[in-house]
Amino acid sequence: MSDIAARPVMAADEEGPFRRFLRQTEIDSRLLGMVGALALIWIGFHLYGYFVNGFGAFLTPRNLWNLSVQTASIGIMATGMVLVIVTRNIDLSVGSVLGLCAMVMGVMQVWYLPQWLGLGHPALWIITVIMGLAVGTAVGAFHGWLIAYLRIPAFIVTLGGLLVWRGVAYLIARGETVSPVDSRFALLGGGPFGSIGATGSWIVGLIACAAIVALIITGRRQRQRFQFPVRPVWAEVFMAVVGCGFVVAVVLLVNSYPWPVGIVRQYAEARGIEIPDGGLFIAHGFAIPVLILLAVGIAMTFIATRTRFGRYVFAIGGNPEAAELAGINTRWVTLKVFALMGFLCGLSAVIASARLNSATNALGTLDELYVIASAVIGGTSLAGGLGTIYGAILGALVMQSLQTGMVLVGFDSAVQQIVVGTVLVVAVLMDTIYRRRAR
């Protein structure tokens, strides 16, 4: 008896300082949980590799750099999926739309545009990318129209889209693989040349640090101006230091992954540079797709939290009837959400096909599942109304880490499927428990 009675008091005492820390810094405890899970996965795979296979391959600059590039395509689509799921919809067609956009872009830049512009024309990749984004947006808007104005459930519309657009992509190129893509276009997929190097990465890092500090300062000033409660100064400083420290660590990481020796030799020969003894160290730095993901993450966070459209998306998810009664044009907002999703599929198609250096008919197959899983693992509630962009990107990183890790330690694909499926269900279970506690 006395034991049971004493427990809550003890728990409150134990959690006191930590809870207070979270409250004062306004750190989302879910974010901490996700970062913890990610750390567990990374360290787990590294140690497993170290003890079972004799070398830990996971926590190496090379693997983490590759991981960042592999996350880009899914991560970009996951940010859009957050808004789709927040409005109580679902999009099962993203993989097929990606495949369609990739195929349209492949055919454009390999078969048609070179006939008019000449092979390797500098505008070729721009026209191609615009085409891809336009096709994605149009397909997404069409889905949105069917869902919002003709009132067909999103599940059905996009399930149909899953089949239709894969079929259309097949017909466009008669099932052929279209390659190689334009050389400038290929840079968008990453690789040694599709990265911005050490100096560029430092510049990006410094801009990011400056932005973090500026955001914290302006946020504090705004709240002071209206005399709202503000965070304690130590919490603001702590957040700034952690944020900047993280950015610097990431820059150091991507700058410690050198170009492969073969590519360095080619590069040196082409430029007439003498390779010194012990090899020439040229760092990759941030890959372009990762920067695109970063830009998309920032833009989508801005859209979700700072614009009217984003506010309406969340209001619709919270209570569709109330949103309608408040005078929000819910159908138009829904259409725009799906158009945005389509646009992001087009962008992911650019990265995926550039990385593969070709457009294949299977590109993006099963992506819808990884994208939805990323959003859900990242805390997006399937009941609608709740979700964050950074959560979805972290979710994509978790999914990709699992995949990569299992390949690295040599699990076969059957085991991989079982693990990914289990993780998805367990993640949602944990989320449900978390929300019930938070009530």
Binding site: F226, T307, R308, R311, G318, N319, L325, A326, G385, R439
Partner: protein
């Protein structure tokens, strides 16, 4: 029927609800005490709406003057909420006209209604549960910075001001409204309605979810708003909620207006008779739904 031949553009469907058996005139005489020859703030004339085969509102006419509280009474399903949702733009009407200050109003959706200064506090409160009080207060009418982004700080400042007037103990500006108590949610809904200088306020069962103290607060607020010249429709199935606050009552039954009466001219029991039997007492002006005498 009515003198105005003007058809509303909102009546997308053919006016199915104009059957021959409804031949009696529906333009009712005004209550002299309320009218005094003044233009009503709102006049809903000969309104009908049908859902499938059910005629939810059947040639109903109601009006409201500035600074007046009009109670709209009737059983559950009598059509009062539906009638009022037509005024607030939530339902498109099949038939009839709405006049605001004597001018015919085009109300096709909630945005139109708000543009006419019509604000509604719904029975369900119609709050977006997952966002905070300020976001709900400004839903659909967000304040923006000069770059077109949401000005959350300014919205929170205004929310603090108006909530401070309605419910001085309210502190939970950062929590989603789903976490608030019934009374707190109600004050958010009321704050939203009065924030934008409403001229016409519709309150659908405003005190249904409230305790005695909060109910008294709402009553006080209604008197305040009335003094400001705002016209208020009070909708309730419980006569006791409405009788003491209202200047005039309309009673509805089966989608029709049974009759109207100034509250000084009738007793609660007489109004109950109107609600239950559809029988008009001498002090009331019978409508199309009144039981034949």
């Amino acid at each position: 029927m009515n003198a105005k031949p003007a058809r509303t553009r909102t009546a997308g469907k053919p006016a199915t609800a104009a059957p021959a058996r409804k031949a009696k005139p529906t333009g009712q005489p005004k209550v002299a005490a309320a009218a005094n020859g003044a233009t009503p703030l709102v006049e809903m004339r000969d309104i009908s709406i049908a859902f499938g085969g059910v005629r939810a509102v059947d040639h109903a006419s109601v009006d409201l003057y500035p600074g007046e509280v009009v109670g709209l009474l009737g059983h559950n399903g009598a059509g009062k909420s539906t009638l009022i949702k037509i005024l607030s733009g939530a339902y498109p009407r099949d038939h009839g006209q709405i006049y605001i200050n004597g001018q015919e109003a085009q109300i096709a959706n909630p945005r139109d209604a708000k543009a006419y200064g019509i604000e509604t506090i719904y029975q369900t409160l119609a709050l977006a549960d997952n966002v905070d009080a300020a976001a709900n207060l400004f839903l659909g009418r967000e304040l923006r910075t000069r770059w077109g982004t949401l000005d959350d700080v300014a919205m929170e400042a205004q929310a603090r001001k108006v909530m401070g007037r309605l419910n001085p103990n309210f502190r939970r500006f950062k929590d989603p409204v789903v976490a608030l108590s019934g009374g707190q949610r109600q004050s958010v809904a009321i704050a939203r309605a009065i924030l934008f200088n409403a001229r016409i306020l519709i309150m659908d069962e405003p005190t249904a979810a409230l305790g005695p103290q909060e109910t008294a607060q709402v009553a006080e607020l209604i008197k305040q708003l009335k003094a400001d010249g705002i016209g208020i429709f009070l909708i309730s199935h419980d006569i006791h909620d409405v009788f003491d606050l209202a200047d005039r009552v309309f009673v509805m039954k089966n989608g029709q207006v049974v009759g109207q009466a100034p509250t000084v001219a009738v007793t609660k029991d007489e109004v109950l008779g109107m609600i239950i039997l559809g029988k008009c007492p001498p002090g009331a002006i019978p409508g199309p739904g009144a039981m034949a005498a």
